[in-house]
């Protein structure tokens, strides 16, 4: 008997007539009408202030227990938290960013090193900068990628990642890999970088191949032969049922 009797879901409010004390619905509707007329959208908090208070007989605050004592955090711990929040948001924290705050950074970083609760904060050196991150929230491998991206040396980033992928998984690396997060390189950027890779003696291990569906892959001869790289790349592109 319960089925089929449901009224509208909560995003649409029913007409209420019987409960005179329940004024909010009417208020809301009036406010909505008002809004339509004025054709503007007030800020949520401002809007809340315009509504009458409603009776709330619960939670007698006087009786609520007030919890005691938050431990005071040291400057170093505050800094660690700052770095952690950024790491959680996939962002490195550069030394120069910290220096902007004008504190004695050296001492602070030293006390960070000594603080047992801050051992997750580690540093990684880029070409021009030193970066900090929390390895609790950011993996070391990702930090390496993030530093490469920060350094903005696209040929070097591509070469290092093609080598690392070839050694680690092992696999050949499609060019489209570098248009994904966190690289987001454009086709033109990748093309320019490839030209520079070809001119650089140090990068002579980097080979290129094109699969049957015209997808370009890079591989490093340090880690695999051209034939093997091609088989790996074709395996990916051909997949189970044919080229994607």
């Amino acid at each position: 008997m319960l089925f089929g009797r449901r009224k509208k879901g909560f995003t649409k409010i029913e007409e209420v007539t019987e409960f005179s004390q329940e004024v909010n619905e009417d208020q809301l509707r009036a406010a909505e009408e008002d809004l339509k007329e004025r054709k503007e959208k007030p800020d949520l908090f401002d809007y809340l202030d315009t509504l009458d208070d409603i009776e709330d007989q619960y939670i007698p605050l006087e009786e609520a227990e007030v919890e005691e004592i938050e431990v005071e955090m040291t400057e170093a711990q505050l800094l660690a938290n700052f770095i952690r929040v950024r790491s959680q948001g996939a962002t490195l924290t550069s030394q120069s960013l910290l220096e902007k705050d004008g504190q004695d950074l050296k001492e602070l970083l030293n006390s960070l090193k000594d603080d047992k609760s801050c051992q997750d904060i580690v540093l990684i050196k880029g070409a021009k900068e030193v970066y900090y991150y929390s390895n609790e929230f950011m993996s070391d491998n990702y930090a390496k990628i993030a530093v490469l991206v920060e350094d903005k040396d696209i040929p070097k980033t591509i070469v290092e990642m093609v080598r690392w992928n070839g050694k680690t998984y092992p696999c050949a690396t499609p060019l489209y890999y570098f248009s994904n997060s966190p690289y987001f390189y454009t086709k033109a950027q990748i093309q320019r970088a490839l030209e520079r890779i070809r001119q650089n003696e140090e990068y002579s291990d980097i080979g290129e191949l094109t699969t049957g569906n015209d997808v370009r892959y890079l591989y490093s001869t340090i880690h695999m032969s051209e034939k093997y790289a091609r088989a790996l790349a074709e395996g990916v592109e051909y997949g189970e049922y044919g080229y994607r």
Binding site: M1, L2, R5, R6, K7, K8, G9, F10, T11, K12, I13, E14, V16, F19, Q21, E22, N24, Q27, L28, E32, L35, K41, P42, D43, L44, F45, Y47, L48, D49, L51, D52, D53, I54, E55, D56, Q57, Y58, I59, P60, L61, A64, V66, E67, E68, I69, E70
Partner: protein, 216 residues
């Protein structure tokens, strides 16, 4: 020093309580037609466009603001599973206090079989003047110190008056126990949501967002 801290903490709690009371005014309602500040949007995990399109509803809970984002509900029913596992010790859809299945298939022209994917979890509004409570002939429905309405299982006679009285039919008569039950804000559904379509923003964060908005 210690006293100051207690005072600070009390101040904080008072302002959070203020915030909560303000939000009680719109509990269970869509935010469409309002502008939400960037900091609050970020906490709520949604966009102004979703607010404008009627996809966002907020609920005032003792511990925070419950945000329901229909654009993110993928109909997996894990909210219902968690609800019934925790509250009833079994897996069910019908007696779940949070309701998504009844919106999932055919919900007034929307839903899986209506060529769109508009569905959302729905639950008790914890009304200030509860229809269910007023309809109960044996006064089995009571409010706890947080204003959450419970059904006393000892007193409940399973008449179904609360189910009929609730405009949204949120209390549900368990066909096996013949007792009615409803949401007690345990939060299990939120824990189980795999896309954040159900999300809880703690009051201190909402308060902070309000202060930030006011400053601007």
């Amino acid at each position: 020093m210690c006293e100051n801290k207690s005072q600070n903490k009390l101040d904080q709690m008072l302002s959070q309580e203020m915030t909560r009371r303000k939000f009680m005014k719109i509990s269970g309602k869509s935010l469409a037609g309002l502008t939400v500040s960037a900091s609050l949007l970020s906490l709520m995990g949604c966009t102004q466009e979703q607010v404008d399109s009627d996809a966002i509803t907020v609920w005032t809970m003792p511990t925070g603001l419950l945000v329901v984002n229909q654009a993110k509900c993928t109909g997996c029913q894990r909210c219902e599973i968690n609800c019934t596992l925790v509250n009833d010790g079994e897996a069910s859809s019908h007696i779940s206090r949070v309701k998504v299945t009844r919106n999932l298939m055919d919900n007034d022209g929307h839903g899986t079989y209506q060529d769109d994917w508009v569905y959302f979890p729905d639950t008790c509004r914890q009304c200030d003047q509860p229809w269910c409570g007023e309809a109960c002939p044996v006064e089995a429905i009571y409010a706890d110190e947080n204003g959450v309405k419970h059904i006393d299982q000892e007193k409940c006679v399973g008449c179904g008056a609360c189910v009929g009285a609730c405009p949204w039919h949120m209390p549900t008569l368990n066909p096996e126990t013949k007792k009615s039950s409803k949401c007690i804000l345990c939060g299990s559904c939120i824990e189980g949501c795999v896309t954040g379509a159900l999300a809880m923003v703690p009051w201190d964060a909402v308060t902070a967002a309000e202060q930030k908005t006011r400053k601007q």
